[in-house]
Amino acid sequence: MAMPTSPGTDLLSPAAPQDTSLLSSPRPSVLPPDVDMSSPLMYGTPIRGTPARQRPDLGSVRKAPQVDLQSEQPVSDATVGSEPSGGQRLVIWGTDVNVNICKEKFQRFVQRFVDPTSTEDENAGLDLNEPLYSQKLEEISVVGDPVLNVNCRHLQSFDAELYRQLVSYPQEVIPTFDMAINDLFFDRFPDSFLEYQIQVRPYNALKTRNMRSLNPEDIDQLITISGMVIRTSQLIPEMQEAFFQCSICGASARVEVDRGRIAEPAACRHCNVSHSMALIHNRSLFSDKQMVKIQESPEDMPAGQTPHTIVVYAHNDLVDKVQPGDRINITGIYRAVPMRANPLQSSVKSVYKTHIDVIHFRKTDEKRLHGLDEDAEQKLFTEDRVQSLKELSLKPDVYERLASALAPSIYEHEDIKKGILLQLFGGSRKDFSQTGRGHFRAEVNILLCGDPGTSKSQLLQYVYNLVPRGQYTSGKGSSAVGLTAYVMKDPETRQLVLQTGALVLSDNGICCIDEFDKMSDNTRSVLHEVMEQQTLSIAKQHVILALPVSVPHRVRPSPCPSRTVSVPHRVLPSPCPLCLFLRFDLIFLMLDPQDEAYDRRLAHHLVSLYYHGEEQMEEEFLDMSVLKDYIAYARTYISPRLSEEASQALIEAYVDMRKIGSGRGMVSAYPRQLESLIRLSEAHAKVRFSERVETIDVEEAKRLHREALKQSATDPRTGFVDISILTTGMSATARKRKEEVAQALKKMIQTKARTPAMKYQQLLEELRAQSETAVTKELFDEALRALADEDYLTVTGKTVRLLA
């Protein structure tokens, strides 16, 4: 939608710097359009054949009244009296912006600003020691996308005064920037072809606010707020300029739309016939517009209140840039429009309607698609906060402190809390896709099992509340589709929509699955892929073809299922497949230790929990928000790498683990365990805010891993750690029964004659005859095996031989 070339009626009409038309366009009756033709600055007119494009984001609502040039002069002199060139010491009415000075400053900024420490992904591939925005101009000349995004923070560090003007008077300053950048661009690249002139889009105004802190003082200022898109409207063609034609003489007139109104010419200026002008729709100018509703992000909200929403208008190419559900940062101008006075009514509502004219959208969750785990910028840490977090990280006992701050209402279980803490931090993400192995999992998975009533659910609830994208689901009643995704018909729109399940929703967060044992095997198998590959494939018959969104989703949850009803004998009962178990980095048993000292401490803890004793309060020196920030900071900024010593230590640890079982033909460690160790060490280094994984990290990882194994996988017979026990697990009663049968069998054999060999079948029948309860074949086999383990007998085929 190009602008017409008749300059006088453009929205941002050619204006001398002292002209006010940037601020509010002249109404034809007041200011004849040709007045500005002599102006040296031809903003809005084609520069070497490139047309300008309207910026409804800046000027669609202009409240400021007309300005009389003459009366304005003295004001401007007073404001910028010290400026040298007398002819240009004028400021735009109502502001302290002098267009020429502003232009010069901005050009200087573009030509000189260097940010060697830039980490933004937009700047990838640019030479950080060269002026940043000059390079971007070059990019524009190559790519041909005439938009220059300017980070306000850069501007602020370069010229604080200019930044202040930008924030305070965006409506005037941004067009000035546009002029400046186009002058600069076409000087440098006189031959380049652009569809229309370059538009400057500032973003990341430091005056970033959450929606709640917006107040009347922010009206007409440049603001950046974050939020979530909840609704987008259809595209709305908005009339920018109406075209009228005289039905008598055919003369035409253009009338600009001002604040949603068109001043219809009462009479034709050419033939002076009144009421002869008719609106010609096809020759009027329209621009695209879209209403977007933004809701406060859940993190910004005080507890117990509902989220606020705000209306945002997107114009031209920003239309359809965002979808409902997106988390975005928007930079724009905050507007308030008084309720229109109704001509039929004598009184009006004394309320304004507010909205934001958007200048720049920035999706905050876009980056997750690039695999960069940075919530950066959205999660702005204040410098004080960063400082205090860093101080905290320097404390020698930071690890213990954080662990004890985790779920303080749950008593002891320090190692489990430490494990969960490391899970929250996670390892470093590694990418081996070039060598064909794809991504390595950085997330730590934890399984908690234990006696009933050991507050496992509570721990899960706590974790779920702590992390920003936590999901809590119960194994009971969850199905495979509930965990992944399913397609359903929206009852209102009748369209097929993809409903995301818990695992998808917890992407980059933690998925807490309670009552894991009550989950069906079918459902559990879904977890395989998620836990190791951290991807999720969904196939829904033919529907998948219709929905391109449902191709494999990347999810990185760290499920920490819990509660397999454990029995005192410390062996897991559930027939959980080994492969799934191995995908857990840490498996903890939450047990009731049942000793007096523990009971006493537990009782004390609980009583003081209920009647908050003083000491309890002291214990909570770290509140949840600090913990949250600490974790978020570490996850965002710290990605530790293994040091030489650490890798050596890891290798040794792994070899040791393998050794334990090898003597007895058991496998006590798998390569997966080594990976877990690496992840845990990295997580521990993150806790220390350290960029290098040191040996102490490995030591702690080893210790924790051992503790977890010791608790859950110690073979009760031998005291050795045996991974396979996790899968062959047997309940205590079954074990007891087996022992009874074994003893009975032994006795029977002993009472029998001293025959060294017996028939298997015969022995079984004799035992059955003797025993008052049923002896199954399996049980008999078990008993025989137990006796064989005692080196009392051997079984070869169908014969049983006594040994010595």
Binding site: S233, P298, S347, K349
Partner: protein, 603 residues
Amino acid sequence: MYLTDMSHNNSTSGWEEKVVKFFKEQLKEKDARTVPSLNDVPLHYLKPNSLVKFRCFIQDMFDPEFYMGAYETVDPSSKAKMMQCGKYKDVAECSVDFHSSNTVNAERQTFYCVPVPGESPYASESQGRVVPSTSYAPSRQKRSYEDDDDMDTHPQKQREPNSGNCGGSLKRQETEAPSSQAASASHLDLNFPLPGEKGPSCLVKVYEDWDSFKLNDMLEVYGILSVSPVLSVLADEKETSSSLLDPTDSMETAAEQRVHCPPASLVPRLHLVHSQRLLHNNPLMPLTVMEQNTAFLSSTLSEMAAVRAELLTYFTHVLLGDTLAAEYLILHLISNVYNRRDVLPLGKFTLNLSGCPTVGSYTERLYHIIQQLVPSSFYLGMTLQNLNQMRLVPKKDYVANRLVSGALQVPKNTSLFLDETRLEQGQLDTAGVHNVTALGNLISWQKVDYDFNFHQMEFPCNVNVLVTSEGRSLLPSDCQIHLQPQIPPSQIEEYLSSLHVPSDSSSQVNKFRIFLGVARLLDYSISDEVTKSVEDDFVDMRKDDPQSVSAEDLHRMLVVARLLSLSLGQTTLCRDSWMRAKHIEMQRKTRVEQQKCVNGNEP
């Protein structure tokens, strides 16, 4: 107390504070009683722009709005400029000078308030009775007759000639009778949390300190009633005259319009002057914090034990002669979430009353009795239809931009009565599963996850949940007690028909009501000495049989001990109460064990 003029006269700086202060002072004294209440006076009897009160519940919070705090008007004839104040008003003067540099913009917040959901009839009625009804109704009647006289000669919606007071000074007409109100209400969903509720809802405009208000708060609001028909007219005309000229109007959906600008005759606006958060809605107790009312407190405390005994006898009678169950029912009714430790709510005591007879609609009778005793309650029959179709969890409707309420959006200390004896065979659909999960969450964590479509938001709540069932409930509970009727099953029906339901205003019932209300609000502590002995006890119990007592049992025993002490009017735990708590817990446990043995297939 009509203050419209007042706000005009002192538009000097600082007057706003003074006004609020003045009203607060006035309301502190007995004057509050003479303020007519929106709860029990029909809207058409209230004078516009007068001070009214409203006892309400914040159901939804709208976006803040910017308004003209002060503005200038230009008299069309004389061109005289005059400053006006826009505070406490919805409509501005006729000829506003939008370009005046004197305009002051300000911000205010709107809350959508409904009467307290589930309020028992006695609570809502007797609070109304506080206002001597004769003091205003007749005089108002008189005025309206006068109005009628001069109104008859004017066409509808005529403005008052005095333009200095045109801010909503359109006289209300008696034609807006209750009948029309009811008729038009049908097409407008007033969004009450509980089904079958009625009453006025209100848009409360708050001018300061709105961050301190929370969703689901119970409030007593004093404010200026604004029912200007202009508000409704503005809303209506939008649909016809809008779109092409003003693009901002067309953006708002009709649904949103209806919700945010409902006709003022149905949903009046209330400009808040003073508000008071209600700790409880029991009309028989003083509103203020208990400590400040030592006289009331000491008199009730001394009677507590006696009233408790009476109540116990009564509940025993109601629960078919089961004293232990009656004991637990008392504990349940005075339970209250008094604190939260990270995610753990402390003090909740959900009771599962299993073994309820299914004859003679016993559970309904039980509910009606409880309803008589507590200020607010809600009965939810767990029928398949209810579970599958009812909206329990509030959900954000982004089209209308409001929070569509659900049955679990209730004020604190509401008694939720879940009747599982109504369960029937069939299949729960997706909504049903969500509803059951929501109920489970409510019971376990005392929170409801409101559905905001793209995410959920957790709202803590404080609801006493009583589950009646035949076998063990499918929902979690803190404590299960199996009812052991002392009446032979054949006579139950007969017994039930003779069940004595307390008459509404007997002094005994009022005593019970006060008892339950006070016990819930008492502070409670535990001395170091008793702590020690509790610890010892626990260790001892574990020594004998570690399996028998778990940490969870200790949790429960501590709650039982607390509630038991409070029910006796004791604010600290003493050894006796602890022993007694232990004792009844043991009794209950044995009973549950027995029950398990009887039907062996129970988990």
